[in-house]
């Protein structure tokens, strides 16, 4: 039966390329193609390189929607159905090695496409998503036949959303995430150049991809790309040369390493002062909370640190998103998960007191964290005191926020650190005395009860921490 037009929800992040647009119908992710894009798709679907990228999972699974289901009033020549990505994330929520691996996958795909006569019309980091710790290329509409003698049209975008952020962190030790979050189109060459003066000019990749590139952009700002393409073709720019360029960028990206910085949180499990009994009790409680009731599809682990509880959650759920504030900690976790081949835990960089807002056009092109959450279970272990005392977020706000991250009927597994606990006392010692009179267990329990039913409660052996399972709205 044809899809009713009333049930079609356009994807707010898919409008930049008018030739194809993504929309949602129920749980399905569909992509409409205009006549030309449909023609490109048919050529692509018949090509060997694309079939092999699909088979290895490097490109998201894609098939043609049965013609009978295409909405009657749609203007599309063809409609594709994509696999559903478990949790959509943005490049400013990735760690250095995540962005680097995503960039390498984009280049690998381009390198496979070029000899087969295809290219990608853009080069954005937003072309990539994650299945756990494995990157996947999602923008199937980006493939088009390559015209001989043409350089990669996506190169500038690749620089702005992937290469420049990587250079920033690798060469200067500056976290790229706030830069990418602030600008939906990435870092422009002219914005980055002032940071690479003096000897820094000579760092790997900087003289050509940044300085020369920016100078060329400014010098040729008036020339149209149509003219330049014709001139390059006439001067003998070949597909081999295009391939050599991609290989060169790949080599550069592969050699970029994050500048090591001492991280307070990297040692957390060793320095956090948990007794062995507390840890065993906590693990047992969390496992029981997740195993009790329907199997969660999506679990959010807030303040995931080294991923201990995210791993535990992955035994009881389909997918886990492990959110942690420190980019270095997330990078370590990502590398470990990647090397283990773990495909169900996605680590993300985000400050819980400043979660990703909506971004891009009308603030909806890149959905906010809250809009993407809808979790079946939220783990908030040893984070409430950091928000309530460390960041002065009112306790009722913290509880409301946790409950709102859940899908209807979801569970919150939350740890309350009593004001007498050594960690809480350390945080309180930095604040004026008597600033948080409502930070105590009875008030916390009262607030939990306003948002759901407390299904389980357990005090840890240390006596200064209590765990709760709350069924939201229950």
């Amino acid at each position: 039966m044809a899809i009713s037009p009333a049930g079609v929800r356009p994807e707010p992040g898919s409008f930049r390329d008018p030739a194809n647009r993504v929309f949602h119908v129920g749980d399905e992710v569909l992509r409409g193609l205009d006549a030309r894009a449909a023609e490109h798709w048919r050529a692509l679907a018949g090509s060997e390189f694309f079939t092999s990228l699909l088979a290895t999972g490097k490109v998201c699974a894609t098939e043609v929607l049965e013609p009978a289901r295409v909405p009657a009033d749609s203007a599309w020549a063809a409609v594709l159905r994509h696999e559903r990505i478990p949790f959509v994330s943005h490049p400013y929520e990735w760690s250095f090695t995540m962005l680097r691996d995503a960039a390498l996958l984009h280049l690998e795909i381009l390198r496979a496409a070029l000899p087969a006569g295809f290219t990608t019309k853009d080069g954005s980091a937003y072309n990539l998503q994650w299945r756990g710790s494995a990157p996947v290329f999602i923008d199937v509409g980006s493939f088009e036949p390559v015209r001989d003698g043409e350089p990669w049209a996506g190169y500038r975008q690749f620089c702005q959303t992937m290469l420049y952020p990587l250079l920033l962190t690798a060469h200067l030790g500056v976290d790229f995430q706030p830069w990418l979050r602030a600008r939906v189109d990435g870092i422009e060459a002219d914005a980055l150049r002032p940071l690479f003066r003096g000897l820094r000019r000579l760092r790997r990749g900087v003289p050509t991809h940044l300085h020369l590139h920016a100078a060329m952009q400014n010098r040729h700002a008036e020339a149209t790309t149509t003219d330049v393409r014709a001139q390059l073709r006439a001067a003998g720019y070949s597909r081999e040369l295009a391939l050599a360029t991609v290989r060169g960028i790949e080599k550069l990206v592969r050699r970029l390493e994050p500048t090591s910085s001492a991280s307070h949180w990297n040692d957390y499990q060793r320095t956090c002062g948990y007794s062995a009994e507390d840890r065993v009790g906590k693990e047992r409680f969390v496992a029981a909370a997740l195993a009790d009731g329907p199997r969660p599809r999506l679990v959010l682990d807030l303040g995931a640190n080294d991923g201990r509880y995210a791993r535990l959650a992955a035994r009881h759920a389909d997918h886990v998103v492990a959110v942690e504030q420190d980019p270095a900690v997330v990078d370590t976790l990502y590398r470990t998960l990647r090397d283990e081949g773990e495909r169900r835990i996605l680590p993300l960089v985000m400050d819980l007191a400043d979660p990703s807002p909506g971004g891009g056009w009308r603030g909806t092109e890149r959905a906010s964290f809250a809009d993407r959450a809808a979790a079946d279970a939220v783990l908030a272990l040893a984070v409430v005191h950091h928000l309530a005392i460390g960041r002065n977020v009112p306790l009722p706000e913290v509880v409301a926020w946790l409950a709102d991250l859940c899908a209807p009927g979801g569970r919150v597994v939350v740890e309350f650190v009593h004001p007498e606990d050594p960690m809480a006392r350390r945080l309180l010692a930095n604040k004026p005395e008597g600033l948080f009179p409502d930070y105590h267990r009875a008030e916390f329990e009262r607030l939990l009860a306003t948002r759901g039913r407390i299904a389980r409660r357990e005090e840890l052996p240390s006596g200064t921490r209590t765990l709760y399972t709350v069924v939201v709205g229950g």
Binding site: R16, D17, K121, D122, E150, P151, W152, A153, G154, Y155, R156, Q157, C159, D185, E188, A189, D190, A191, T208, H209, L212, H213, A215, M216, Q217, N218, R219, H220, A221, A223, T224, T225, D227, V228, R229, Q231, L232, A234, A235, G236, Y237, E240, L241, A242, A244, T245, G248, I249
Partner: protein
């Protein structure tokens, strides 16, 4: 500062790719500039600035 449109490859971004492509690429870029220069002289009688 350049603010280029999405799906606009950018003229400078196209040319610089020849240069980063190694020796053969530099030769292409040199040829492109040489042709532009020759064209400018050829056109000069009718295209005075």
């Amino acid at each position: 500062m350049n603010h280029l449109a999405y799906l606009d490859a950018g003229s400078g971004s196209l040319i610089v790719q020849a240069v980063v492509g190694g020796v053969a690429g530099v030769a292409v870029a040199a040829k492109l500039y040489w042709r532009r220069l020759v064209d400018r002289f050829r056109r000069q009688p009718t295209d005075q600035r």
